[in-house]
Point group: C2
Chain length 495, copies 2
């Protein structure tokens, strides 16, 4: 084997060795199975340090040129397919579209549809983001979480880095049970299952209750990412129209008189996307209707903790005497969206069955993260943080309402006035949903990012609507965003 | 409102106030909506510090007795159901078993079946654990991970605590792509989807390819936790018998001649449970058969990195010229089982569709954990750790083979000799699977925990078998465990 080494050149010696050997393998001069000289021998031969040769071999090994035998990197590997990004990008010879199961195809179509409508590239870099709905990263208590993470790793690192209880880290389940009592929900840790966010909780609930072609009921509009999930599970969604005070109870009653859906999916607090919160009487009536027809209620409490105007209304789950409600909670709109901490609170018979489904998809959850979040709460960091973001979001929501009042066309546009949460629903009166593309294009030109209303409807959208969220913009940006949105809407409303 | 305070007693004053107010609410003397005195007023009245009253109110609030209005805790809350563990434990009035969808019912039955057969309580505390199959917590590099976690939180805390790329943290996908090249698999970061462990990857692959009542092919025996997943997805599993050199290729060919299964699930390295590794010729033949019938291969590489005897055989995925293989990887058997880091490597057309399904169930993965694991690998901590556990597991596997040879009945029992991984498959010759209960009971009496063979079969088990794993026992315990297992088997074989 002839290698030419130029010490002191621009290329480090280990890389010269590495490159030349790689070339010999690529051109076939060194065959699979060929033995390279021992590092000591080659180093002596080339007059270089042994560690230089070692490093070259290690690099070659990590690029797949040599056999992966620990401590030894001396045999040329049989490579069945030359590595390289070019190959990776080539289309597969197999038809994955045709091979996909019908449900997977439906989810893919739904996902492309969501993606296409969201991906309106900005005309300007100076963009006001009214589209994001997540805990604001700028408010994130990183230092407190870092302390919690360090404590957990130093006190119980080995334990929380292994497989854990599939229902979730027990102390966190106890903390969550205590927290739910603040909202009048009396459950124990055994009635809680920790999930990877509320989306995961919804998927588990849907899998528990509804197989392919079953009918389910949901508000219309509803949470946009519930829709591709319903399609993946091949459900038939019957939309119950939203009124100013929540879903239309008469329409629900008429539906229940005709058929028994597998479940009712509802978001009673700061409904996504409309921001509407239902009153106690509405919740009691809804529950009574579902109880009388034995229809389980899946209550999405995704922003339960974000009430900052007026008195909180207790969740439907708090009134659930017959054990028919599956409650979904999440931290994601409050703090640490990326840690994926959600939970289900439900009767034990339901939790056991949800757990069986959960284990099929995940074996167990992330113990380290669950333990760190529990430490964060137990150390007293959660409640002061919550009070802080209440102040922030309250001020933002006030700024949004003031901005909309000031800048939106006085006639022809109406919007909701939520008691908490982060979103407001804007409806353009007497304009068809078909104008959505034009409205989005106008908003894009003005430099404001909004979420198109049609994303929230399983079927035809009910008019021309938009969702705006304050979770990603401070008060100054909100005022500017309203100004831009006003200009964008003026064209559509005036036109 | 009459409160009696005894300062200086065993109960702190704030708790006395809290308990007495709670009692007044519980017995109905204080009605929902009643206003408590302002903290200042009550403090003056009782002659205590105002912060003492504040603390009592805060506690009452956090227990659900008062309205949750930030900064104010003075109105008695309408409580619809008295909190208490007793209620939580009461059976639900709703029949969740009847409401469960057929697939959910199947998963629940499967899960109970697994649970019942695993939960053989030990007769002694001095137990040898041959059942666990997970990265050994005692070897876990906690300090290195702690350093990585700290670096990631301090450098990019806000970013990784928010929602991230649903396909996974891009630098980790790049690291994994480089790592896969070590095994001859040429993929780019765009052909990788990070999952919550390999179980999650398998669930996504199954959802992509197979709807209810489709036939799939898998080795028999196979990974135990794949079976409840297949039941949840309502698949019909055709088992291909395992031979000494891997799945029976003739049986696969006969099956493929008759029908086209939606996928073949295979574990070519250190097959779970048998420990068998197939050779390159076997892999090529398997792939050619599946290509000729256009049957996608789901290759489970769960212990790809745990080869420590002899030369590694490249994965089937490395030979995949037609893009028909979905490869599943995981860290869980190597390190940090509880962090749930797995991945899928597949053609982009497949990845896009898997991603759509993934988002329906989770929105995004855990960015913080993915970033910390990437830092752990990029900082050079992974490879030295891997070499270390290779030494450890090699020594354990040698101890297990020596112990089995020394202590198992010379006649009537045979077992596998894996080239890596952690498990050995023991078969009792000429004894029916119906003796499994007696064998497990004997093992329990001797104080050794093993996994019953029947768990790994979709249908009837093929004889009387056991799986033993060395991931949870060191060499001393392994020798002792073999002694105990020998005594347990002697009774069954001799009987």
């Amino acid at each position: 084997m002839l290698l030419k080494i130029a010490p002191g050149g621009p290329t480090p010696v280990f890389r010269q060795i590495q490159d030349q050997i790689a070339r010999l393998v690529d051109e076939g001069s060194l065959c699979p199975g060929a033995h390279l000289p021992a590092t000591r021998v080659l180093a002596g031969h080339l007059g270089v340090n042994r560690s230089t040769v070692y490093r070259a071999y290690q690099e070659l090994w990590s690029r797949g040129y040599l056999e992966a035998r620990p401590g030894s990197y001396s045999t040329v590997r049989a490579r069945l397919r030359p590595p390289g990004p070019a190959l990776g990008q080539a289309p597969s010879g197999f038809d994955w579209a045709a091979a996909a199961a019908p449900a997977a195809r439906a989810a893919h179509v739904g996902s492309l549809r969501l993606g296409a409508r969201r991906a309106a590239p900005a005309a300007t870099d100076d963009l006001v983001d009214f589209a994001s709905l997540a805990a604001d990263g700028a408010l994130c208590p990183v230092d407190e979480l870092t302390r919690s993470m360090r404590r957990v790793l130093s006190r119980r690192g080995r334990e929380v880095l292994g497989y854990g209880d599939p229902a979730g880290y027990r102390p966190l389940r106890e903390t969550l049970a205590r927290r739910l009592r603040v909202h009048g929900v009396a459950v124990t840790a055994d009635e809680i299952l920790i999930t990877n966010g509320a989306q995961h909780g919804l998927d588990l609930a849907v899998q528990l209750l509804a197989g392919p072609r079953r009918v389910i009921a949901a508000e219309s509009p509803t949470y946009a990412f519930a829709l591709p999930l319903f399609r993946l599970r091949q459900l038939r969604v019957r939309g119950i129209p939203m009124r100013a005070d929540g879903l239309d109870l008469d329409a629900l009653e008429r539906l229940l008189a005709r058929r028994r859906p597998a479940l009712l999916y509802t978001i009673p607090n700061f409904h996504n996307p409309t921001g509407i919160t239902t009153g106690q009487a509405h919740r009691e009536k809804l529950l009574a209707l579902c109880e009388s027809r034995r229809v389980p209620v899946v209550e999405d409490g995704f922003e339960e903790e974000l009430k900052y105007f007026g008195k909180a209304v207790p969740p439907i789950k708090s009134m659930d005497r017959s054990g028919i409600v599956i409650y979904l909670g999440t931290l994601s709109k409050v703090v640490f969206s990326g840690l994926r901490i959600g939970w289900i609170a439900a009767p034990r018979e339901a939790i056991e069955r949800l757990l069986a489904i959960h284990r099929c998809g995940a074996l167990s959850g992330n113990m380290l993260v669950q333990a760190a979040v529990d430490d964060f709460c137990s150390a007293g960091a959660y409640e002061p943080y919550l009070r802080r973001i209440h102040r922030v979001y309250r001020a933002r929501m006030q700024a949004l309402q003031a901005g909309l009042t000031e800048h939106l066309p006085a006639r022809g546009v109406e919007w909701t006035r939520p008691a908490g949460g982060c979103t407001v629903w804007i409806r353009v009166k007497d304009r068809p949903a078909s104008r959505e593309g034009a409205l989005l294009e106008a908003a894009r030109r003005e430099g404001v990012l909004v979420t198109p209303g049609s994303l929230f409807f399983a079927d035809e959208p009910d008019g021309l609507c938009l969702r705006v969220s304050v979770s990603g913009a401070d008060e100054g940006r909100i005022a500017e965003g309203c100004r831009r949105l006003g200009r964008a809407l003026a064209g559509v409303v005036g036109g």
